[in-house]
Symmetry: C2
Subunit: 201 residues, 2 copies
């Protein structure tokens, strides 16, 4: 399942992606986004944090109202996201992040980010929100937390035209250990970076 703008996101449509899952996501058939969603469900059900994926933005053009049944959208298009994919609240703090995945081995293509997403991250930082990116290198089976300040500065210094080297992500980011439950415990990093490391998650 490819997005119109070339970004591969995970499982946007539950009914149609079973094939792609097998092709793209060797990791026990669960896409990166599904793993983040499962992590967020774990956090939610354990009263740890309230973080949700935003719905995919759609431009609706035509809706039919068949009698005795619910409204049916018959023409619509994907819109470019103007913000990031995930947001929520953790111990009163605003959490905002984007999750990206690649099959590349040594770099992450910057075209996966749009100018207004970068500016959104900047705006969130200015409001003292916690803003970051989770990078998943599917072939390496490695997931990194990168504070958005490093993404923004890289983006701005290259005009958004150069891929980010994995070495840059490793230098400025944090490898996330993939647990059993929750799968991607990114709040651990936030505890250490923002909350003094004294909290359980």
């Amino acid at each position: 399942m490819k997005y119109p703008n070339g970004i591969r996101k995970s499982t946007p449509f539950k009914k149609e992606d079973s094939k792609n899952k097998k092709i793209n996501f060797a990791n026990r058939g669960m896409s990166f986004e599904s793993e983040i969603n499962a992590t967020n469900e774990y956090y939610l059900s354990h009263g740890i944090a309230v973080i949700h994926k935003k719905p995919t933005p759609i431009q609706i053009v035509k809706v039919d109202y068949p009698r005795r049944s619910r409204a049916k959208i018959v023409e619509a298009y994907f819109k470019q996201a103007s913000t990031t994919d995930f947001s929520g609240v953790y111990k009163g703090r605003y959490i905002d992040f984007e999750a990206k995945e690649t099959n590349q081995l040594t770099t992450f293509p910057m075209k996966n980010f749009h100018e207004h997403q970068i500016r959104h991250m900047e705006n969130v930082r200015n409001q003292n929100g916690i803003s970051f990116v989770l990078f998943h290198f599917s072939k390496l089976k490695e997931t990194y937390y990168l504070d958005s300040i490093y993404l923004i500065s890289y983006y701005d210094s290259t005009d958004g035209k150069k891929s980010i080297p994995l070495s840059y992500i490793r230098e400025h980011g944090y490898l996330i250990e993939m647990n059993q439950i929750p799968r991607i415990p990114y709040l651990k990093i936030i505890n250490n970076l923002y909350l003094g490391g004294h909290h359980n998650e």
Copy 2:
């Protein structure tokens, strides 16, 4: 424009609602949701807060990929929202709210809220987020801020089956003065309730 579940929300589809706007929203042709969006744009462009409306959740069933053009969604349905409409960050705090409008004069129909929206508000409160509802009584031209704790307790004490009297909203909520710019300055209330009233917005 009516939502399948009977909620009237404002301007979900830009291309089709010009007629409804005239019918439903006497207030200089701008829907309540549009006024909130305009308020949020003001807050954003002035560096005051980063608050966005979440996209409408859609269940996508079928997508066509016509050659040389972008992906076209040809069958999709509205999904019930599992969270609230608006969220973002203001001075580091997580902001989360629902905006509702009615033509009623003395009550607000509770069927406009779903059980999981109420539980979402509760979850946000438990994480120390700022959670509330903006009620617009279009015929009265009055808009109220009601902290979600009062919505939750009313909902729970009536099993979600009784309309909320306007008198209850007036007793526990705050009337928002409709300014010129921004139109619905709800952050003023948040300043007073949560931030000691010392901040400009």
